[in-house]
Amino acid sequence: MNRCLAAESVAFAYEPGAPVLRDVAATVRGGAVAGIVGPNGSGKSTLLRLLCGLLEPGSGRVTLDGRPLASFRPRERARSLAFLPQGVQPVFLLSAFEVVCLGRYPHVGALAGPSSHDLEVARRCMRDTATDDIRHRSFMELSGGERQRVLLASILAQEPELLLLDEPTAALDIHHETEVFTLLARLAGDGYGVGVVTHDLNLAARFCDTMVLLSREHAVAACGAPEAVLREETLSAAYGARIRVGAHPFTGTPLVYAEPPEGAP
């Protein structure tokens, strides 16, 4: 399985005259982690939603293996690519296992409940994300890291080949962020294609195979290998700030540091 999800010169605006993305290209391939990074408001989340097919580009196109994403039926699309948004707030109390079972939706008929096969897939996905032993616990009682792993299990239960995640480490401590990214890298090693929006450039540098850097001007500032994207001039221009890049003392990957604004104490 080597799937390829590609956005080709896409533009998007929620309101006319206020573009959120201009002429942006991005690719998510099977077997690799693609990071989408950039300053707040640069359009990262919008790009991810275009790649998911939840939004339609104003111009340009999004294709999955060369076929326009818009031509997929929604459930068919959901069997190929899964989306994990930010800040999931369920209104009902569900066990972790029930949350993972929800992921079977694209495979289950409208009237039928999940079959024993569906339950088995859910259990397997929980074992893969080390959440099997917390499957009876209430989802909202879980810690942030556990919750994120359960959500990952629930999108894996869709049996997709491409995973698209919006800031999956947003509220996690340093240990759990690394844990989530390690899991993503391992999934890519298993052949999944991973597209991940993140603010943490150092984690991205460590775990992403390719990166797309969006600028404050809603365009692609740079793309390619982390070493090619994470350069001082490029980052400083994209973020409109003074950004320094060194080498990580332990891993040798780029280490990014934002200087305080000039004149600050």
């Binding site: 929604p74 459930r75 369920p90 209104v91 009902f92 929800l102 939706y105 409208a110 629930s154 869709q158």
Partner: protein, 343 residues
Amino acid sequence: MTRRVSAGHAVLAATALCVIVIAASLSIGPEPLGPLHLLRQWRAGESIEDAAYILFSLRLPRTLAAFLAGAGLALVGCAFQALLRNPLATPYTLGLAGAGSFGAYTALVLIDFGRLPYSVIGVPMVQAFAFLFAAADVLLIFLVASRRARPTPAVLLLTGVTLGIIANSGIMLTRYFARPERLIDMDRWLMGGVDIVGYRPVAVLAIGVVPACLWLLTQAGKLDQFGFSEEMAAGRGVNITRLQLTVLLLGSFITGVIVSEVGPIGFVGLVVPHTVRAFTGAGHRLLMPVSLLSGGAFLCLCDLAARKVPVAGEIPIGIITTLIGGPFFLYLLVRGRFADWET
């Protein structure tokens, strides 16, 4: 986690409850007769004409009406709580009870002043007005929602609540114009009642409620997704706009039909889903059918209480449902049995 009962047990228990309550509802009344009594009389060769009339023309239609109304209200309650992502949502949250009552009041005043016939080609105008006003309420909600890029649950909720408040002012206005001696009839309508005679109201309820309820039940899996996360639901292939439209229209239609036939009976759509959820969990594939059955049984039971409470005549059923439902709901709140809501 809360204790959960298995799907089979939940459906079985709800069905048994229905059978017992319906049998009781047919057997209990001012005249001591029931299906068994009737059978005994018939075998003894006695005349059963009077007994059969009471049973088949009075008690059976009344029982069926109560069951259909309760089932519909409870099911719509489940669906609206998920659709509006709010544990306090009821079939009436979107202003349907207020609008329907406003319609009924308007018709009652117009009839009283001779501006409206009591019925047109056999359709009672009070019911017709109640339904039309409820439909207008839904239409207004759609007009407001469609002005927005995406109708969020909060927008739907606020629109419905606002329209309900406006409708209540409309009710006050019609009361102001009404002749004082008519106010008793009008307010009696607001208390709800299944004291019907004959099968016309039952037929209207059956045609209006049953197909729409079956259709609503097919949305269970999508409501599970929507209640968990709107965006994940969309990512998994749920057409959110279509789901909102379908549930809103079906729920409003069911509620509109029920309100127009039996008045705004409160609390069924709130108490039943929450109680059932404590046993079945929040999965709508089980929650919805069990709520449907339990809601029917609950309203039959309330009707039975309304008939049997020893006061002059009988108490309006809307008062009974609220008197039973209100304290019970408070008990659930105090005991923390909202376990299945992230509140």
